[in-house]
């Protein structure tokens, strides 16, 4: 208006300018075209959130989304994982006799663990799998929720409160033939050592009668540990264990402890060799995943002892 006056142009009356602005015109319409205001004397009704644990991920399991996800996992995700993590994958042969859905349970150090797992899990499970992801993190907004559901097939898992919704959804999907990837520690490692396992994977295995496949991931903490935003390329290994099932006498807590012990044995196998690891496992001397109970600097110090062994390459005979 000032500029118009300086230029000697007569401004339009306010009533006309208001009429020309569609936003302002809409605002001027009022109720019922606008939401009603709540009287001060009444308790407002809170609408149920459509993010977090309530986010509906069913669209991400329909064919178009699955095809898009398969293209993402086998394309850019695999390339990125190879470039960043150079994974050495072992133990897939342990699954050759396995049929039907399963719960893949792995230790958790980094956001890279999920892409690494999705590109390491063999067929036929790789393209019919959902990932249990923290509802408060991966489903915080509608955009993040959609992205998580599409790219990694995430389903929301409540980790801050006890709820049936997450468990029911996971159980329903397992019954429908979907496999499930879970990180039973419930979050990424804060210091490089593992955290105590929660019972979700064990509970679902018992409830749905599916096996748990323990998987140990090593090295992703060096690439993108908790608290870091820029990845630093390094080498990793993924060791897949034999499928295990709960026995009749084993409740969820005991089975969760066995899953943790199996992953600890796989960690031992990755850092030493299979026979030594089995010997220690049978003797009950497998090094713990959670590290020593000591001060933080001693725990950090002890981490250095768990270095990876050197890679061995299969010698190839020259062509004849």
């Amino acid at each position: 208006m000032k500029l118009a006056r300086q230029l000697g142009i007569t401004p339009l009356p306010k009533s006309i300018t208001r009429a020309l602005s569609p936003v302002k015109r809409f605002r001027a319409l009022g109720f019922p075209f606008r939401a009603p205001s709540t009287p001060r004397g009444v308790e407002p009704v809170h609408e149920l959130s459509t993010t977090g644990a309530r986010y509906d991920t069913s669209w991400a399991r329909r064919t178009p989304a699955r095809m898009a996800r398969a293209a993402i996992v086998d394309g850019p995700m695999r390339l990125a994982v190879s470039a960043l993590a150079a994974p050495e994958r072992r133990g897939a042969d342990r699954l050759l006799d396995l049929k039907g859905p399963a719960i893949f349970a792995a230790n958790h150090h980094s956001h890279l663990d999920t892409p690494l797992m999705l590109t390491s899990i063999p067929e036929p499970w790789r393209h019919k799998i959902v990932v249990g992801a923290a509802a408060d993190y991966f489903f915080s907004t509608r955009f993040v929720s959609a992205l998580s559901s599409l790219t990694i097939g995430a389903i929301p898992i409540e980790r801050t409160k006890v709820g049936r919704r997450s468990a029911d959804l996971a159980a329903e999907l397992l019954d429908d033939g979907w496999s499930l990837l879970l990180f039973p520690e419930g979050g990424r490692s804060p210091d490089g050592w593992g955290q105590p396992f929660r019972g979700g994977a064990a509970y679902l295995a018992r409830r749905c009668g599916v096996p748990v496949i323990p998987v140990h991931i090593e090295g992703t903490g060096r690439i993108l540990r908790k608290g870091k935003s820029m990845p630093r390329p390094s080498t990793t290994s993924v060791t897949i264990g034999s499928p295990i099932r709960p026995t009749d006498a084993e409740n969820a807590n005991r089975f969760a402890a066995r899953i943790e012990a199996e992953i600890a044995a796989l960690a031992d196998e990755a850092s030493s060799n299979w026979y030594q690891a089995r010997t220690r496992a049978h003797a009950g001397n497998t090094p713990s995943l959670t590290g020593p109970s000591a001060g933080s600097w001693r725990r950090s110090w002890a981490l250095g002892d768990r270095s990876r062994r050197a890679k061995t390459r299969a010698r190839r005979w020259p062509d004849i």
Binding site: R90, E269, N273, W274, Y275, R278, I320
Partner: protein, 538 residues
């Protein structure tokens, strides 16, 4: 395909009488194939049984076999802390072709080692029981045992190939009642427990032959790998009528008395050599059941193979891994276990056949036990045809005495210089002099067996022992003695003549040549092998 009723109820092997409506029959021809029309009215074709169903849970079956052995204590009770444990296993010559991962040896050895780990056994050695065969390469050992076992034992030097020429690594356990020396790998002989992990693809394998031959040296093996033994085995595929096995069993008595305690684990596999589906599946179907897809696949495969150089063809075939399935596993006392193994082996292989034939025809494939990842040289062609295939009988030979054997194979004058150095000299020097096994044995065997250069190559390179080509020739000694003529169709005439056989361009030519020996109306029998079959001739 999983619901294919034939997988659950496989058809047994049978004998087809050829008539005018019989389609041309598939003949393996090295790294290629031929389709041959057999004369109607006087020909028959023996087809192998379809693959028996594999065990539904192989790992559990193995575990049960180890926990409930035959005539022996459960394996966990034999394993003690501080003991010396040796696990010996069959080498690259089994199975044929190599099987898809995980190999049965890996499945068994992982379970055995897991039990040893539970018992706290620290002193464990794993030995490839290869006798006088070539050493296995790292990738071959990894394929047979898996990366977990290889990485746990090979870097410490606890997983290695048997060395029959190591002067400090062999011991003599004694003499049999027939004065046959019994030698054994020293580490195995001095162990508190020797576990042998076997894989039976044919009935010749297993039993005391595993340890008495597999872990032995020349001075022990020459007692049964000789012309006399082979000519008196009727056949060496029938353990109870085989001099080869009788000698091994006598050596087994000495091992029982003076050697280590042996815990034998034996397995059998089915006939699923080429798969139920995929490009090779047509090779285990009966010709009149080939679908349009099968015929198109076969035509495409043969056209492609014809256009390729032999090295490319060899590469393709050698890379094939058979989807074999485990049909039985038994563990415990050697002889009792082996009897059970034979029964399971025969369930898959035996085909009853009435009467002998004048002319036996064979299509020889690209592989035999001694050219895995290698070249099938002319001596191995002779060994496969006159040794293995001719001896796939129980009762009496398929072909009558004085009859004719017609084999189909390109028989190239080609040798693998690293794997088969002594074969080259055997072919050039020995066979140009004589093809008579008795004379060869008398005149040349010792010279080749004790040659320092061959010994060096066997121990440090990947060469078969200097004496090995002699054994290949002896393997066919019974057939050479029995047959009136041997003809090779489509073979390199120079190589075929050097072997002492007659070359023919076509099967019709070969049948014409055979008529000189058996007359113009001689009966013909074709063994449709592989997949493997064994004729029970009455």
């Amino acid at each position: 395909m999983a619901s294919d009723p034939r997988r659950k109820a496989p058809r047994p092997g049978f004998v087809l009488d050829v008539d005018r409506s019989t389609p041309p029959i598939l003949f393996h021809h090295g790294e290629n194939f031929r389709l041959e029309k057999l004369p109607a009215g006087r020909s028959r074709v023996i087809y192998p049984a379809e693959p028996l169903p594999g065990l539904p849970d192989p790992d559990d079956s193995i575990r049960q076999a180890l926990l409930n052995p035959i005539d022996d204590d459960p394996l966990p009770t034999l394993l003690k802390p501080g003991m010396k444990l040796t696990i010996a296993f069959d080498d690259i010559s089994l199975p044929l072709p190599s099987m898809r991962a995980p190999d049965i040896r890996q499945r068994i050895i992982e379970q055995v080692l897991d039990m040893a780990a539970a018992a706290g056994v620290d002193d464990v050695h794993l030995i490839a029981a290869l006798a006088l065969h070539r050493r296995m390469t790292e990738s071959e050992l990894r394929h047979a045992l898996g990366d977990r076992v290889y990485d746990a034992f090979a870097p410490q030097g606890a997983l290695y190939n048997h060395d029959a020429e190591d002067p400090d690594g062999m011991v003599e356990l004694g003499q049999t009642r027939h004065d046959e020396a019994v030698t054994m790998n020293k580490r195995a002989a001095e162990s508190d427990l020797l576990i042998y992990v076997n894989l039976n693809i044919v009935s010749m394998d297993g039993g005391w032959k595993s340890t008495a031959t597999g872990l032995s040296g020349y001075s022990g093996i020459k007692n049964h790998h000789n012309v006399h033994t082979m000519q008196n085995s009727r056949s060496f595929m029938d353990r109870h009528a085989s001099e080869l096995h009788k000698s091994n069993w006598r050596q087994g008595e000495v091992i029982k008395k003076h050697g280590p305690r042996v815990f034998q684990i034996e397995t059998t596999i089915n006939n699923n050599t080429f798969g139920y589906d995929g490009p090779m599946s047509v090779l285990q179907k009966r010709e009149w059941e080939w679908s349009a897809k099968d015929r198109a696949t076969f035509i495409g495969m043969r056209s492609g193979l014809n256009a390729m150089p032999s090295s490319a063809r060899r590469k393709i075939f050698q890379s094939w891994k058979a989807p074999y399935e485990l049909t039985s596993v038994q563990a415990g006392e050697v002889e009792a276990v082996h009897e059970a193994t034979l029964e399971n082996c025969f369930k898959q292989h035996i085909v009853p056949v009435e009467g002998q034939t004048d002319i036996l025809t064979l299509g020889l494939p690209y592989i035999c036990p001694y050219n895995v990842n290698s070249v099938m040289n002319p001596i191995l062609v002779m060994c496969l045809g006159l040794g293995y295939f001719f001896n796939m009988y129980r009762g009496q030979p398929l072909v009558r005495e004085g009859g004719v054997l017609i084999m189909s194979h390109p028989t190239p004058w080609e040798f693998h210089p690293v794997h088969h150095p002594s074969y080259i000299d055997f072919f050039e020097q020995v066979l140009s002099d004589t093809t008579d096994p008795i004379e060869i044995e008398k005149k040349y065997e010792k010279q080749f067996a004790e040659d320092e250069w061959y010994r060096h190559l066997y121990r440090t390179s990947y060469a078969y022992h200097g004496v090995h080509p002699f054994y290949m020739w002896y393997w066919g000694a019974h057939a050479l003695q029995w047959l009136g003529r041997v003809i090779i169709v489509g073979g390199d005439p120079r190589s075929v003549r050097r072997l002492g056989f007659q070359p023919a361009s076509t099967l019709q030519d070969a049948l014409e040549m055979a008529s000189d020996v058996v007359g113009p109306h001689g009966t013909i029998t074709h063994m449709h092998n592989p997949p493997i079959l064994m004729a029970d001739v009455t």
